[in-house]
């Protein structure tokens, strides 16, 4: 029983690490633009599909695949920003969101046109079996996932707290009007935030498909939903919250799956989100806001 609990916790944290990465990207965009980007996941999916296409054609190596995923995702993200968010900057949040939904349809169709099968193999990160630690097992991919997530968080932390770009990003999240008043060029910040968020999403997407060993068109919707869910659990627009929310989502899913099965797993996550919104809409983890 205890062994199972700990094993579930390990599995949950692994999944949670991926969710956290997805949520950070999602939160960056939401925090800075105050807009929901439904095309966030589909852009990641398109990036993974582009890499898979290259793999099918030319059998390229792991690092090249990762680079391709990154480049294609950032490109798709830039396209989404130009078409769905730049034109709606001072206008309706709903229109921007619906536009990002329309582009979602486009990206998904594009991906399935290039690779029409429902499922494609994606080269695994590590071919061997799971590592065993006493009674527990841990997949090598899980370790990579953790390591990369931690590294990505550290890099983001450095970027946000040690650079001029980071200062502008935090200023816009904190108090958008004041950010404009101190002379921050908002459109330019948005473009770069999209690039960073897309890159983080690409890292998450690459790790997810490489540990699953396959890509499906479901990845788009799945990434958007998980990223949004984790962001909401952690509190809208808070970056530390996104990490906590991602890990919490992973843990909740792993444990409720073990206790109640896969359908109840999803049910629990949504129920929690609903209850949280109804009872504590500012999220579990929020930065102090006065004045």
């Amino acid at each position: 029983m205890l062994v199972d609990l700990i094993q579930n916790t390990l599995d949950g944290l692994t999944a949670g690490a991926a969710y956290a990465l997805l949520a950070i990207g999602f939160t960056l965009i939401f925090g800075v633009l105050r807009r929901i980007n439904l095309s966030y996941g589909p852009a990641i999916m398109l990036g993974c599909y582009a890499a898979t296409w290259f793999h099918v054609q030319f059998q390229v190596g792991l690092l090249v695949l990762a680079a391709l995923t990154l480049a294609a995702t950032v490109l798709a993200g830039a396209y989404v920003e130009r078409l769905c968010f730049a034109p709606h900057r001072d206008r309706s949040a709903i229109a921007a969101m619906v536009a990002s939904f329309a582009i979602w349809m486009q990206l998904e169709e594009l991906a399935t046109l290039v690779l029409p099968n429902h499922l494609y193999a994606f080269p695994a990160l590590y071919e061997g079996g799971p590592l065993s630690l006493g009674p527990f097992t841990l997949r090598a991919e899980a370790l990579v996932m953790f390591a990369v997530t931690v590294l990505a968080c550290l890099a983001l932390q450095r970027l946000l707290y040690r650079s001029r770009f980071g200062l502008s990003v935090r200023a816009v999240i904190d108090q958008p009007v004041a950010a404009r008043l101190v002379g921050i060029n908002l459109p330019w910040v948005f473009v770069r935030v999209f690039a960073v968020a897309s890159a983080l999403g690409a890292v998450a997407g690459y790790l997810i498909v490489a540990s699953a060993g396959q890509v499906t068109p479901m990845l788009g919707m799945w990434s958007t939903l998980k990223g949004m869910l984790a962001m909401m659990l952690g509190g809208l627009g808070s970056l530390p919250g996104a990490i906590v929310g991602g890990l919490a989502l992973g843990l909740i899913e792993a444990h409720s799956q073990w206790f109640f099965g896969p359908q109840v797993r999803d049910l629990t996550a949504y129920f929690l989100l609903f209850a949280l919104l109804a009872l504590r809409p500012s999220g579990l983890w929020t930065t102090p806001r006065h004045g």
Binding site: T112, P116, N117, H118, A212, T216, M218, W222, Q257, G261, P262, D266
Partner: protein, 133 residues
Amino acid sequence: MAKSALFLILALASLPASAQRAQAELACTPSNTDFAYHCVVRLSRGGQPLPGADVSVGADMPSMPMAHNVRPVKAKPGKAPGEYQARLDLEMLGEWAVKLRLRGPVNDQLILHYDFDEKGARPVIRSGRLPRK
């Protein structure tokens, strides 16, 4: 051989269950065009082949059946009694809900779930307990 045996078992199993309602089975082979299939529909009622029906064949995507669907086509009578032939022009591979509209001896609508890939189409059997990816 094995396939026809399976067909027989299925037909027998449903014999007492539905004396009135029509049953259908689908066999599809890919055509030269992408996502297009030559399909044979076998209609039966009470275990007996059901000829002479007016059959139109369409297909929906399970999520978004109202927007993602295939223009229904009229099926032509096939080689054996109770067999009907139609060409299905799908938009993509994967799971489709094939929709048969029957008129004539029966007036009914049947929905069959098939998974389409490069080789053909297989019926989808979902346990309902598998995790969704």
